[in-house]
């Protein structure tokens, strides 16, 4: 018996459509604020950077706070934003309220050092690549990595299609 693929609601396709909607909205905004007619190298680089950030942000926001990595990424974006406003106003210690208690981080890092000797060294590299990886225990790290990879591949897949779409319509 073949199951119709549409029968079960596929959570990854709604993640995909949330990402598409956000990202396209961000691209439209970027296009309005950085018109391609101005072709100075700085401008081009600014556009590139804004698009890259928009892509990562759109994915993180689409996942929301359901994942450790997305929460870490979202708090990173928020602290970047407040870092800009620190210059204007007096010192704000927003970092303390958004990051996890340092005591918790210390305990999990110690556990990691005690736990799997060889595997531990291997995971160091991975911890740097996955947002929030430094504070995760090994189990969480592996699970979060799997989800992070799925989201990254969705990001790439969608971006490729958008590039193709605009490339062909020229």
């Amino acid at each position: 018996m073949m199951n119709s693929p549409q029968q079960v609601k596929n959570p990854s396709s709604s993640l995909k459509s949330r990402f598409i909607t956000r990202f396209l909205g961000a691209l439209t905004k970027i296009n309005a604020e950085h018109p391609i007619s101005s072709s100075s190298p700085t401008r081009i680089f600014q556009r590139y950077r804004r698009i890259k950030v928009a892509s990562n942000k759109s994915m993180a926001y689409s996942v929301r706070s359901r994942r450790i990595w997305s929460r870490a990424m979202l708090s990173r974006f928020r602290s970047r934003r407040s870092a800009f406003s620190v210059r204007r106003s007096s010192v704000k210690t927003t970092n303390c309220t958004t990051s996890p208690p340092s005591a918790l981080i210390k305990v999990t890092i110690n556990e990691n050092k005690i736990a799997k000797g060889g595997l531990d060294m291997q995971t160091d590299e991975l911890r740097e690549l996955v947002p929030g990886g430094e504070a995760m225990d090994v189990c969480n790290l592996l699970g979060e990595t799997a989800h992070y990879i799925k989201c990254l591949t969705t990001q790439v897949q969608v971006m490729r299609k958008i590039v193709d779409f605009y490339h062909l319509s020229k």
Binding site: I36, I51, T108, C139, I162, Y166
Partner: protein, 89 residues
């Protein structure tokens, strides 16, 4: 393994758990997927995972670069609807 709780609820991590998670990761990585019957070592999977993530990051950068050059022709609602439709097919 001590039963000390750190608040995250993980008091001991079993080898089985790790093996299971590592094999799930293996299925996601194209490099290792080809040798489906072969179970790659944990360190190999982790190494390939790191490489794969770095590749994906690079791809995002490259695609952002290309998009920044194509962006001129973005039309708002019409294009968006068409793109969304084609992407979700």
């Amino acid at each position: 393994m001590s039963g000390r709780r750190s608040g995250s609820g993980v008091s001991s991590i079993s080898d089985d758990q790790i093996t299971h998670l590592v094999s799930k990761l293996q299925q996601l990585i194209p490099e290792l997927c080809a040798r489906r019957s072969h179970k790659a070592s944990a360190s190999k999977v982790l190494q390939e995972t790191c490489d794969y993530i770095r590749n994906l990051h690079k791809e995002v950068e490259d695609l952002s670069d290309r998009l920044s050059q194509l962006l001129a022709s973005i039309d708002t609602d019409n294009d968006q609807a068409a793109i969304v439709r084609s992407l979700l097919m």
